[in-house]
């Protein structure tokens, strides 16, 4: 057991030595891995954002908002509310006066809310916000709502959501395809890099075999070398993606695309996932690359 442990330690030591000795070639592997991971990061963020948009939109818009004509009496209002509640699929009905609407708008605009201060009169309409049990009821309910007396306009977002879902799916598939292709390419690149170092050390490998080294002992340092390249590549790309995205997120936040930030994934949430995914993929690519390149060289 102690013997095996020592052999294992040797292998790891030689892996580090090998990495240092091949640092020139290593640079090629490392940059190809980090390039792939950075692109992966961008694609990943894109996919996550789109997921967010879809989710947000869905929760926001499985409600229907009906805008009421001005100057309705409270009796009229009660009447309308009763009629709505009788419709199938309605979960709740909430009245939103135009003053409340303006208040909410002001809160949403935060620092830019002063723009709303100058208004002479409230341009909004009184409305009901109808929560549906499911978005699928919208199609039946909307025509019925339109004919209720006192209802001015009905807004719902079924078709937007449908389109969004389709686009999101396309992007997801395309993203997965791009990622798969990139991973294959980088395995190819790293396996070639390691193949070159293996070829240049063929003599050394042969000597090791005559002295009685097992295939594992010969392969081990190269695999560790590959893993180290992968690890360094992934750390680099994690740093770039993390800082890059944080910067992007802040600048978006600063420039009053307030509505947009709702849909962006927060950087602190992202970093954990990105770290795990990148390290796993980087190390995987590195190990696989070496294994692929070594296959041919072990039959002496």
């Amino acid at each position: 057991m102690a013997m095996r442990l020592r052999v294992f330690k040797n292998i790891i030591k030689q892996g580090f030595q090998g990495m240092w000795r091949n640092r020139g070639m290593g640079l090629a592997s490392i940059s190809s891995i980090s390039a792939v991971l950075m692109i992966l990061g961008v694609v990943l963020i894109l996919i996550l954002t789109i997921n967010n948009v879809v989710l947000e939109t869905k929760t926001k818009f499985d409600e229907i908002q009906i805008y009421l004509e001005d100057d309705l009496t409270s009796v009229d209002l009660d009447n309308i509310e009763d009629k709505i509640k009788d419709l199938e699929g309605v979960l709740s009905v909430v009245f939103l006066s135009k003053d409340q609407g303006l208040e909410i708008m002001k809160e949403g605009w935060e620092e830019e809310s002063y723009l709303l201060e100058g208004l002479e009169e409230n341009p909004l309409q009184n409305s009901y916000i109808i929560q549906l049990r499911d978005i699928k009821y919208a199609e039946d309910i909307v025509p019925k709502l339109k004919v209720i007396k006192g209802v001015d306009d009905v807004k719902y977002y079924q078709d937007i959501i449908d389109k969004l879902l389709v686009i999101a799916n396309y992007i997801r598939f395309a993203g997965i395809g791009v990622i798969g292709a990139l991973v294959l390419i980088s395995i190819f690149i790293i396996s070639n890099t390691i193949k070159i170092t293996v070829t240049s050390r063929k003599r050394e490998i042969n000597i090791m075999k005559y002295v009685g080294a097992t295939n594992g002992y010969i392969r081990g340092p190269f695999i560790i070398e590959g893993i180290l390249f992968g690890l360094i590549g992934s750390i680099l790309s994690i740093a770039v993606i993390n800082y890059g995205y944080e910067y992007f997120f802040k600048s978006v936040n600063d420039k009053l695309y307030l509505l947009l930030t709702v849909y962006l994934v927060s950087p602190s949430l992202l970093i954990k996932d990105i770290t795990i995914i990148f390290v796993a993929i980087g190390v995987g690519i590195g190990a696989l690359g070496s294994i692929v390149s070594l296959k041919r060289f072990l039959n002496v």
Partner: protein
Amino acid sequence: MIRFQKVDKEYDNNVKALLNIDLSIHKGEFVFLVGSSGAGKSTLIKLLLKEEEPTRGQIVLNNMDITKVKSRRIPYIRRNIGVVFQDFRLLPNRTVYENVAFAMEIVGAHPKEIRRKVPMVLSMVDLSRKASNFPDQLSGGEQQRVSIARAIVNSPPVLIADEPTGNLDPETAWDIMRVLSEINGRGTTILMATHAKDIVNIMKKRVVEIHEGRLIRDEQKGGYGNEIASI
């Protein structure tokens, strides 16, 4: 210790390198393997090292049938055999000490044991002073002594040498032979393929001669050979 029984070796290109070889070598023997170029000496050695598979027959090493073995067992068979080649085969980017220690690291020897044993074998081949030199800073004879030190550091029962003096001048060659004799004197079985006529004639050891793949002579205290073998 080593036994070939009716061994044939035919390479993929239909070259019959060995035919019906019967050969027994006992523990502690010193055997010269002679024969003209292309006779099949290196092929016989490659069969022992499991670099090539025999086409027919049986090979036994250390009471172990090694005729057919799984490739993952080959490294462990090789650990019973020290090998020395004509071209030394040292790792160029490691010092003399590291080249020898390397053979012990592979088998997972204890560092303490490595620190004890490596200086010991280096002094045996008279290279203690060159321990921290790199191979390209050594003469051919010195390099060959490093490779011998590496071959014996794990105390294998058998040492195989394929033309170990082939690249050396006669005087240096004799240095190597003295080292090999000493190793043999400590009980290691030695099989050495060679073209060095003088060495074979003077050492008076067992001589096995191969001609065109056949074993044609097996003589105790023999000489390099008769007219067939010499040019």
